[in-house]
């Protein structure tokens, strides 16, 4: 085989280690892949340098070659990071290189973990490098819901304490303006507004050490932020009433603020209008199924005490079940049964 490594004098000192897939010792290899000759050769040199724990420029180049063929190789990334730090490479250059890999392989865990490993180096990055957020926005231009990029950005926020950085909320506003259904952006917004401001390595959710009923609630609530975010959610809902994201967001905001869902009863009612003729209910005009669901939840909570409110909850749930959301008819039925079950208990 005349491969690029075997014919390269730079690699002459290395005895490649061929793949041992076990067939010589009676194993029948599974999930065999029709590897290219290039991949077979490059990986046999990778095994050799790894076995020798070699830290060198040529090994660094080799990792790049492997990564382009198999970016999910879980040890080659750790090996590359080890070499980059040991040879004291310019990490900004490494990031620049990584940008290209990221744009080529959009769905990959290892790439973003590698970035996190580099960025974790306090010596090299005591503060956020200036172009970092620009690059993330470039990634979002490719796929504004890329899970890996969002998870990484979340980590960046915590690492560099950027919750209140003007750039963060500006980017989120811009992403939501271009797609109000971007649930990833909504989630990030929640973390910026209500995430714990601690630098614990991976601190849990708000008040996660509190009793179960208190988890997810802020210990200290900034009522202005809560009001502002509720208002923001309302404006976004009006733009697209069937968009579930801001409705869920509002639930999270109310919960963080320790406020009840019923605070939005009036708002939700504007999307669910009873049409009456001579005092008789003849029809319901619905502008958002999520508003119906909201009202069902409010009435169900209050309905535990009052029978007429429970009936209203069931009416809302039936609207969803029969007309607006029949895909989930069994779920709405489950909710109806929960309310009826409560009534049975209450009257027993």
């Amino acid at each position: 085989m005349e491969g690029k490594y075997v014919s390269d004098p730079e690699w002459a000192s290395i005895q490649p280690i061929p793949l041992n897939d076990g067939s010589e010792t009676g194993a029948m290899p599974m999930a065999t892949i029709a590897y290219s000759d290039d991949y077979i050769e490059a990986t046999s040199y990778l095994r050799a340098v790894m076995a020798a724990n070699e830290i060198s420029e040529r090994a660094l180049k080799l990792t790049e070659d492997i990564i382009f063929m198999n970016p999910a190789h879980y040890t080659v990334w750790i090996y590359r990071a080890k070499i980059v730090f040991a040879l004291n490479k310019d990490l900004l250059e490494e990031l620049e290189w990584l940008n290209g890999v990221s744009l080529k392989y959009l769905k990959n865990y290892q790439i973003w973990h590698h970035r996190q490993v580099l960025m974790s180096s306090q010596d090299h990055f005591p503060t956020l490098p200036p172009k970092e957020m620009d690059f993330l926005m470039e990634m979002f231009a490719q796929d504004s819901k890329n899970y890996h990029v969002w998870t990484y950005r979340h980590w960046l926020v915590r690492h560099f304490k950027l919750w209140d950085s003007p750039r963060e909320i500006a980017d989120i506003n811009s992403l939501l303006n271009s797609d109000v259904r971007n649930n990833s952006a909504w989630n990030h917004r929640y973390m910026l507004r209500f995430g714990p401001r601690s630098d614990e390595p991976d601190g849990g959710m708000t008040n996660s050490n509190g009793p179960p009923s208190e988890k997810g609630r802020l210990a200290v609530v900034d009522e202005d932020v809560v009001d502002e975010e509720l208002q923001y959610a309302q404006v976004q809902i009006v733009k697209a009433p069937e968009n579930r994201s801001p409705w869920s967001y509002a639930r999270g905001v109310l919960r963080a603020g320790g406020r009840p869902l019923s605070e939005w009863t009036g708002f939700a009612q504007k999307f669910v209008l009873d049409k009456r003729e001579q005092g008789q209910l003849v029809d319901v005009e619905v502008k958002s199924s999520h508003a119906v669901e909201w009202l069902a939840d409010v009435y169900a909570q209050d309905g535990a005490a009052q029978e007429s409110t429970a009936a209203e909850a069931v009416r809302m749930l039936n609207l969803l079940k029969e007309k607006y959301d029949p895909i989930r008819r069994n779920y709405w039925d489950y909710r109806i049964q929960m309310i009826l079950g409560q009534e049975v208990l209450a009257s027993a």
């Binding site: 793949l19 897939d21 065999t32």
Partner: protein, 422 residues
């Protein structure tokens, strides 16, 4: 409407082809996951009920040997043979480059069970000693152990689930014969899992990340493996019916079912990341500010109820406002099944979606409408159908992600069921 047809024979041919012939070069980017790919092939054939009839005892023994060939000397399994530079060269200094991998270890063990092996050659104690080393101080698990016993890989729920699964498989009912083997910190793991619930009820990769069906499956799967869902077990609020956390989790899961399939003729199909929805036409050109909010709501038109026709095919997405995808039919229905809430989904819609939209002519399933089949989506498509009782498929244990026959085999192993009598 004609009855959708499950093309069992074609699926058998697809999985056999994947098992017995080379996968195309395209799979090179999945080389490190060969154990997982191997799992899909044998688990698929087992689920189709033909593993025994379509493979010979010699072949099955050969597969078992290959899995053991993937076992690393210090316990656990590597994800593929590509990192193996030979036992004779292995030292304390270089073993970090050929490490055991947490998810691969779990799937290697399940493959052995599917193939009827009794796990007698598994380095059980070594593997169980390695697991706690993979746990971080926040309770989460990593993927592999790096240099200086550093935990490497993202700290997310996938690794938590497969670490808990490996512990479940190897400890047995009462950890018989494991005196002096330190266990993982179960309470810390459970606390980490609970902290990954997002404000909308679903579970995310880590605290405060976006809720995602794959991670939600991993969270509940881990709790099953840790015996936190059986009767009489210590239940955390996340899995306690009636609690706010539990009810919001169920709501989030059922909300994943969608008739938005991202088909070619869908509006905005060039926008690959999710549906635009009908109400976009209502987008008000002028900025909506708080002063005219009420007025703007008045101007909104009524919501047209969905038609029966439009709900005929109803798959699942993995996140809010995304299109349906075959694998999410699995992640969501499996999670609901573990929670005993599978009847809440529209089973007919899911079946129509899988059989008419992503089932492929040559067998297997694609990721989305009209896409070519791949092993992952093919297996998960089958399993989701199996949960719903599709004729020709065996029943599946949702946490083990393999047939109940596999679970029974595990439970029949003498060391597994051994209980401490004194």
């Amino acid at each position: 409407m004609s009855e959708a047809v499950f093309t069992k024979e074609r699926h058998i041919r697809y999985f056999l082809r994947c098992l017995k012939t080379f996968l195309p070069e395209l799979y090179t980017s999945n080389d490190s996951n060969r154990i997982l790919l191997a799992f899909f092939t044998v688990a698929g054939l087992d689920l189709l009920g033909v593993l025994q009839s379509k493979t010979t005892p010699e072949e099955r023994q050969g597969y078992i040997e290959w899995i053991y060939h993937c076992q690393v000397p210090s316990g656990g399994f590597r994800g593929f043979t590509g990192t193996d530079f030979g036992t004779e060269r292995r030292t304390r200094e270089n073993e970090a480059w050929d490490p055991a991998n947490v998810p691969s270890t779990f799937f290697a063990l399940v493959i052995l069970l599917i193939l009827g092996d009794d796990l007698s050659r598994v380095k059980r104690t070594e593997c169980l000693r390695w697991l706690p080393k993979m746990q971080r101080s926040d309770g989460s698990f990593g993927e592999v152990l790096g240099l200086g016993d550093q935990v490497e890989g993202g700290g997310d729920l996938r690794f938590c689930c497969f670490a808990a699964g490996t512990r479940y498989l190897l400890r047995g009912k009462s950890a018989a014969g494991l005196d002096g083997v330190q266990d993982i910190d179960v309470e810390k793991l459970v606390a980490f899992i609970e902290s990954c619930q997002a404000y909308d009820g679903g579970m995310a990769e880590g605290p405060y990340c976006e809720a995602h069906s794959g991670h939600t499956y991993c969270a509940i799967g881990a709790l099953i493996f840790l015996d936190r869902l059986s009767n009489g077990s210590k239940r955390v609020s996340l899995v306690s019916p009636g609690s706010q956390r539990y009810e919001s989790l169920i709501r989030w899961l059922v909300s994943r079912q969608t008739a938005e399939l991202g088909e070619e003729d869908d509006e905005d199909s060039d926008d690959a990341d999710g549906p635009a929805g009908d109400d976009d036409v209502q987008t008000l050109t002028k900025a909506v500010d708080r002063l005219n909010l009420d007025e703007s709501i008045d101007q909104l038109s009524d919501l047209p109820p969905p038609t029966k026709e439009s709900l005929q095919w109803a798959g699942f997405n993995g996140r809010c406002n995304k299109y349906a995808d075959t694998c999410y039919s699995f992640w969501n229905t499996a999670t609901l099944d573990m929670l005993g809430k599978l009847p809440m989904v529209d089973a007919a819609g899911n079946r129509q979606y899988l059989l008419e939209k992503t089932q492929h002519l040559i067998g297997g399933f694609g990721k989305g409408v009209g896409e070519p089949p791949d092993l992952l989506h093919s297996y998960f498509g089958l399993v989701s159908l199996a949960f719903q009782g599709e004729q020709g498929l065996d029943s599946v244990d949702p946490a083990l992600c393999a047939t109940h026959r596999t679970t029974q085999h595990l439970h029949s192993l003498p060391w597994w069921q051994e209980t401490l009598t004194d």
